[in-house]
Subunit: 192 residues, 2 copies
DNA sequence: GGCAGCATGTAACCCGTTACATGATTAC
DNA sequence: GTAATCATGTAACGGGTTACATGCTGCC
């Protein structure tokens, strides 16, 4: 229920078209808020109707026209009001945890392969985050002084990095546990 | 789209009524999968129609009758099939990250109070997890030998503990960052 | 000739959330 | 008496997901 607010933040950081927003939701913002272009267009239209954003049609050569959106006064107010609301504990849906507990009632080896693949995906994501951190915030090509916006983007990215590191360590714990269970079952099966 | 599977796992761990399931989704399973009683009753009815679970009416004295559910063969098969499917990267929705980046366009002090409260909530959750771990798995009253089901429950709980510790450390980082920004703004406002 | 990228949309479906409803017992 | 717990549901709404649709440009 905060796609509107995610869009407001993104448009405040940098105004742009629905298409551009959709691409950002595949990248930077997408790391902590996913949305498809269908959702974005739908919500953007409603936000325009509510006066939260203002659209300006931009003709382009060699490309279709686009609508360039920027946040309007009421949108800024709505964002401020939302920022002052209490942060609710998020409702989690963690497939993997369900699968792990489900492994007690199935052969663990299939799950182990999935966990290994998942570990690989998260290593890649961590590498991607670290590359982004170096490029934008800490590396030699990063700006010497960061403004507030960049400082806050950086602390969010640090959260993503901490999350990936924690996840990788836990996945190794999970794999070791599954391996132990598998070995114990194998030892029981053929007799002593 | 895996509430069915979460219910299957929970019923395999221990059969019970819809009401009992709803209560588990407030506690142990609820730490990684939330569901309300309305959802559970709706899905349970569908699962019964599909032959995944079997219900047995139980008359009780002094309490309303209840339907006692247990997983049937097709349900076990459905769970096994799901466990063999690849683990998809989860689609995240992290309000707090959006709010933090939004703080660049607002006074950070209101958000700081929210983050402090949020930190408090997570400390409590961590304490709760640690108490549960001691009670069920590592403490003097825990069973000396854990079966597969308990081992897997434990590794999932360790994941929750790692997540809370990581979150607490990050929230402190967030607070420090917001404080720095606030101080810098205050220093600019009244002049040198 | 075909595929990827730019750009915007409609329609249908399912799931999750919220509100409402009932009725009995036990504890304060 | 009144609040909490046990126990099961219906109904309405809104948001997210998936599929479908269009059309032009630039590259291999």
């Amino acid at each position: 229920m905060a796609l509107e607010h995610a869009i407001l933040v993104s448009l405040l950081e940098k105004p742009g078209s629905g298409y551009e927003l959709a691409r950002r939701f595949d990248r930077s913002i997408g790391y902590f808020w996913t949305a498809t272009h269908q959702q974005i267009y739908r919500v953007l239209k409603r936000m325009e109707g509510d006066g939260w954003v203002e659209a300006r049609e931009v003709a382009q050569q060699g490309r279709p026209d686009k609508k360039h959106y920027a946040v309007a006064g009421p949108g800024r107010d709505a964002l401020a009001a939302w920022l002052h609301e209490p942060i609710e504990p998020e409702s989690v849906r963690h497939d993997l945890a369900v699968k792990i507990r489900g492994a007690a009632f199935d052969d663990p080896s299939a799950l182990m392969r999935q966990v290994e693949r998942y570990h690989q995906l998260h290593s890649e994501r961590l590498a991607h985050y670290l590359a982004g951190e170096s490029r934008d915030f800490t590396g030699p090509d990063a700006p010497a002084h960061l403004d507030d916006m960049q400082e806050l983007q950086h602390v969010v990215l640090r959260g993503g990095i901490a999350y990936e590191r924690m996840t990788l360590a836990w996945l190794e714990d999970v794999l070791a546990t599954l391996r132990r269970i598998q070995a114990a079952r194998a030892a029981e099966r053929p007799g002593p």
